[in-house]
C-alpha cells in the first residue's frame, strides 16, 4: 500500500520493478512526471498522466475532481508546458450516488476552465460494490512547451537558489482532519490550484528556470530529495525560512508529523540561477497563487544527492523522503 504513497516506496517501485519489467519499451522514459515529445516541426509537447485515489472524496477546499484536473495540469506545468487538453477516465463503484458524481464532474469542468484547457475524451468503468472507494479518476494531459524552456530536475546546479511558491502542508492536513479516527477541527483548506499560470509568469520573467517540482505526496522533502538525487547536487535549506502556517505546525505537532513531509496540491518548488532569483520571485508574488513565495535555500556542491536542513539552533540535519503514507504517532 505504501508504494502508492509518493514516498520512497513509490520511487523504488518505478526504479526496481516497472522500468526493468518494461525493458526496451521504456527506453526513452524519464522518471519525471511529464515526458517531452518533439514533433517534426520542432514543436514540443509535454505528456503526463496520473490516477487519483482520495479518501474522503470531498475535503475542506476541494474534492477529487479538482485534484484530478489540477494534478495533471501541474505535472505538465512542471516541465514548463501550458496544458491544452485532458482525458478523463472514471472507475466507479456500484452504488455511488449520481449526485456525488455530478458534483465531482462539475468541479472538474470548473477546474479545467480555470486552468484554461479542454476536457476532450474519456471513459467510464463500473466495478462491483466493495471493490473501490466510490470513484477513482485517471487523467492524462498534453501541453505545449514554450520555445527555449528546458526545465529538468537534473539542471539544478551549485549556486542556484531554491524558491517555494507559498505556504506548505495545507492539503495534507486538511485531508487528515477528516480521516476517521483522527478527526480534528481546523479552518485549514486544501491549497488545490492550477500552477500553469504561475509557471507562465515565472518563465516570462526568466526563460531559463532550471527545475520545477510540485511537492504533492511526500511533501517538500520528497521534491527536494528528488532534485538533489537526480542532479547529484546537495540542497541546503533553512527551516526558519519555510512558510509553514501556524495551524499546520500545530496539527503536525500533535500528530507527530513533519510539515515538509505533508502533501501540497497547489505549490511548487523552483530551482533558479541566483541572478534571476529576484525577478522570478517578484513575478511569482504578483500572481494569486504565489503571493507568499520565498527563497528557502540553495543548491550546493557538497553532499551530492543529499538534502540538508539548517535547524533553528544553527545545526544541520539530513532530510529524507517520508517512508510512505503519513501516520500519526505516539512516540
Amino acid at each position: 500500500m505504501g508504494h502508492g504513497g509518493g514516498g520512497q516506496l513509490s520511487a523504488e517501485l518505478v526504479q526496481h520493478l516497472f522500468l526493468p519489467s518494461f525493458g526496451e519499451a521504456a527506453r526513452t522514459a524519464t522518471p519525471t512526471d511529464a515526458h517531452v515529445l518533439t514533433l517534426g516541426n520542432g514543436v514540443r509537447l509535454a505528456f503526463s498522466t496520473d490516477t487519483y485515489v482520495v479518501r474522503p472524496l470531498f475535503f475542506p477546499g476541494g474534492n477529487i475532481g479538482e485534484l484530478a484536473v489540477y494534478g495533471t495540469v501541474n505535472d505538465l506545468a512542471m516541465s514548463g508546458a501550458q496544458p491544452l487538453a485532458l482525458s478523463t477516465g472514471f472507475v466507479l463503484e456500484e452504488g455511488l450516488e449520481m449526485d456525488v458524481l455530478g458534483r465531482i464532474a462539475a468541479a472538474m469542468g470548473a477546474a479545467a476552465l480555470k486552468a484554461g484547457l479542454q476536457l476532450v475524451t474519456g471513459d467510464t468503468k463500473v466495478v462491483e460494490h466493495g471493490h473501490g472507494d466510490g470513484v477513482y479518476i485517471n487523467t492524462a494531459g498534453i501541453g505545449v512547451l514554450p520555445a527555449g524552456a528546458d526545465i529538468r530536475p537534473d539542471r539544478a546546479r551549485p549556486g542556484d537558489v531554491v524558491i517555494v511558491s507559498g505556504e506548505i502542508g495545507l492539503h495534507g492536513i486538511a485531508v487528515l482532519s477528516l480521516r476517521e479516527g483522527l478527526e480534528f477541527g481546523t479552518e485549514l483548506r486544501s491549497d488545490t490550484a492550477p500552477l500553469n499560470h504561475l509557471v507562465a509568469a515565472m518563465l516570462a520573467a526568466c526563460p531559463d528556470i532550471h527545475a520545477l517540482r510540485d511537492p504533492t505526496r511526500g511533501g517538500l522533502a520528497a521534491s527536494l530529495c528528488e532534485i538533489a538525487e537526480t542532479a547529484q547536487v546537495g540542497i541546503e535549506f533553512d527551516e526558519r525560512s519555510l512558510p509553514v502556517p501556524e495551524a499546520v505546525r500545530a496539527a503536525c505537532g500533535f500528530l507527530g508529523l513533519d510539515p515538509i513531509h505533508v502533501a501540497n496540491e497547489g505549490k511548487l518548488v523552483a530551482i533558479v540561477a541566483p541572478d534571476h532569483a529576484e525577478a522570478v520571485l517578484a513575478a511569482m508574488r504578483a500572481t494569486d497563487v504565489g503571493g507568499s513565495a520565498a527563497i528557502i535555500g540553495r543548491v550546493v556542491e557538497e553532499n551530492g544527492g543529499v538534502v540538508v536542513a539548517r535547524t533553528g539552533l544553527g545545526s544541520t540535519r539530513i532530510v529524507d523522503r517520508p517512508l510512505g503514507e503519513q501516520l500519526p504517532r505516539i512516540c
Binding site: 479516527g181 483522527l182 505537532g253 553532499n303 533553528g312 517512508l323 512516540c331
Partner: protein, 398 residues
C-alpha cells in the same frame, strides 16, 4: 506563554550550550532514556553543537520499538481474522513482525485502522457491534492511563466486542537493567519527562542511590533537553547522584494521582521481553484478573507462534542499549524500528519496503562533522539477519 516557542529560543540555547561546555571538565556519557528526547536531539541537531566531552547515548525509550516480535506476530494473526476490526496507534503499523507488518495485513484486506486515542477504539466497538474490535495497547507509563481508561470504559459501557492486546513496558526496570549490565558505560540519565508526568519522580530515588547515578527528569523541547544535560553534567562533576526535575512545569514529584489510581485498578506488573534487549523481570503491565475478559490474548487463540528473536537470546541483557556507541565526533543515531525516529540519520529504515530494515553502515561525517552523508546504495546488504541491528542507540556489535 504557549509552552513551545519559549523553549526553542536559539539565544537561550546558545547560553545553555556554553554552560554545558564550561561545566564539563571531563568526558561524560549520558543516556537520554526516551525516544522523544532522541527525536528532539536529532531533529534539532543538538548533538552537533554539544561539546565533545558530553556523549549522548540513545536509550531504549520507544515502546513501539521494544514491543517483542512475538507480540507483533500475535497482533498480525488477530488482525488477519475476518471478523476483527484491529485498531492501533499509527506507529505500530510499520513495525515488522517475523514476516510482515500491520500495513501488509491491511493491504491484504484486513480491517486495520489507525486511531489517535484508545477511546476512539472503544467508540468503534460501540458503533460496530457485529465486529470484534481489538486495540493494540502498547506504550510506556505515559500511554498506560489512556489505555487503562479505554478498558475501563468498555466495561462500563458493557461492550463485549472490545478487547486489548496489551504490551506495556515500564521505564525504571529498564534503567536498572542497564545499570546492572557489565558493559554499560552510562554515567547519568535523562529520565523521560512525560513518563514522570504520570508516575512522578520518587520511584527513581532508589535507582539514583543504589547505582550512584544522576537521574534528571527532562522535557522535550531543545531548551529542556539542554537543561537536562546541563544539570546532569553538574551532578557528575560534583560527584552527586540525585534525582532532579528539569521539567517542573509538567512534572510533580507525586505524578498524576488519578491516573495512577486507574492504573492500579486495570493493570498488574509482569515480566516482559523487550525487543532487542531480552527479558526484563517485572518490566511490564498486563490486564489485572478483574479485566481478563478484555484481554485479546485470551480471547483469540492464535495457536503456537513460532518466533525466532535471535538477538534477544544471544545478547547479554541490555547489551545493545548499554552504550556501545561509536567513539569520536560521529555519533551514530539510530533509534529502533520506529520509522519516525530515524530522521535522516538512520538509513536502515528509510530505504523503504523493497529493501527495508537492512543493515546499513553508520552515517559518516563529511569533514567538520556538520554534514551527514548517506551510505551509497551498493553498501546496503540484503541479509535478513541485519534486521536485528536497528534497535537502540547504536548498532549492536556486528
Amino acid at each position: 506563554m504557549k509552552y513551545l516557542d519559549e523553549f526553542n529560543d536559539p539565544a537561550l540555547a546558545r547560553l545553555l550550550f556554553e554552560q554545558i561546555d564550561a561545566a564539563a571538565t571531563k568526558s561524560w556519557a549520558i543516556m537520554e532514556v526516551c525516544g522523544g528526547q532522541t527525536h528532539s536531539i536529532i531533529r534539532n541537531g543538538i548533538d552537533q553543537l554539544l561539546t565533545d566531552r558530553v556523549e549522548l547515548i540513545h536509550g531504549p525509550g520507544c515502546p513501539v520499538c521494544v514491543t517483542p516480535l512475538e507480540m507483533i506476530d500475535r497482533a498480525l494473526a488477530i488482525a488477519s481474522r475476518p471478523n476483527v476490526l484491529f485498531t492501533s496507534f499509527g506507529d505500530m503499523l510499520r513495525v515488522p513482525g517475523s514476516r510482515e507488518d500491520l500495513f501488509s495485513v491491511k493491504a491484504k484486506g484486513g480491517d486495520v485502522r489507525v486511531v489517535y486515542s484508545p477511546l476512539d477504539a472503544v467508540n468503534l466497538a460501540q458503533e460496530h457491534p457485529d465486529k470484534e474490535v481489538v486495540f493494540f495497547g502498547v506504550g510506556f507509563e505515559t500511554t498506560a492511563p489512556a489505555n487503562a481508561m479505554a478498558v475501563f470504559q468498555a466495561r462500563d459501557r458493557g461492550l463485549r466486542n472490545f478487547s486489548m492486546l496489551v504490551s506495556h513496558v515500564l521505564v525504571p526496570p529498564a534503567i536498572e537493567a542497564l545499570m546492572t549490565s557489565p558493559t554499560s558505560r552510562v554515567q547519568g540519565f535523562l529520565a523521560a519527562g512525560h513518563v514522570c508526568t504520570v508516575m512522578g519522580t520518587r520511584q527513581y530515588e532508589p535507582l539514583a542511590q543504589q547505582y550512584r547515578v544522576p537521574i534528571v527528569v527532562t522535557g522535550f523541547e531543545p531548551l529542556d533537553v539542554l537543561d537536562g544535560i546541563r544539570r546532569c553534567v553538574l551532578q557528575l562533576e560534583s560527584g552527586r547522584a540525585e534525582v532532579e526535575n528539569a521539567y517542573p512545569r509538567a512534572v510533580r514529584a507525586e505524578g498524576n494521582l488519578p491516573a495512577q489510581e486507574m492504573l492500579a485498578k486495570v493493570f498488574e506488573t509482569c515480566d516482559r521481553p523487550w525487543r532487542g534487549i531480552g527479558m526484563i523481570p517485572m518490566s511490564g503491565w498486563r490486564l489485572a484478573p478483574e479485566f481478563a475478559a478484555f484481554d485479546a490474548e485470551r480471547r483469540f487463540d492464535v495457536g503456537e507462534l513460532s518466533v525466532s528473536e535471535p538477538e534477544a537470546r544471544t545478547l547479554p541483557r541490555g547489551r545493545s542499549a548499554a552504550g556501545h556507541t561509536q567513539a569520536g565526533p560521529v555519533r551514530v543515531l539510530r533509534q529502533g524500528v520506529h520509522p519516525s525516529h530515524t530522521d535522516g540519520r538512520d538509513d536502515g529504515l528509510q530505504r523503504g519496503r523493497l529493501c527495508r530494515l537492512l543493515p546499513v553502515p553508520p552515517a559518516r561525517s563529511a569533514g567538520g562533522g556538520a554534514s551527514w552523508l548517506r551510505p551509497p546504495p551498493h553498501r546496503r546488504s540484503t541479509s535478513r539477519a541485519g534486521r536485528a541491528r536497528c534497535r537502540f542507540g547504536t548498532r549492536t556489535a556486528s
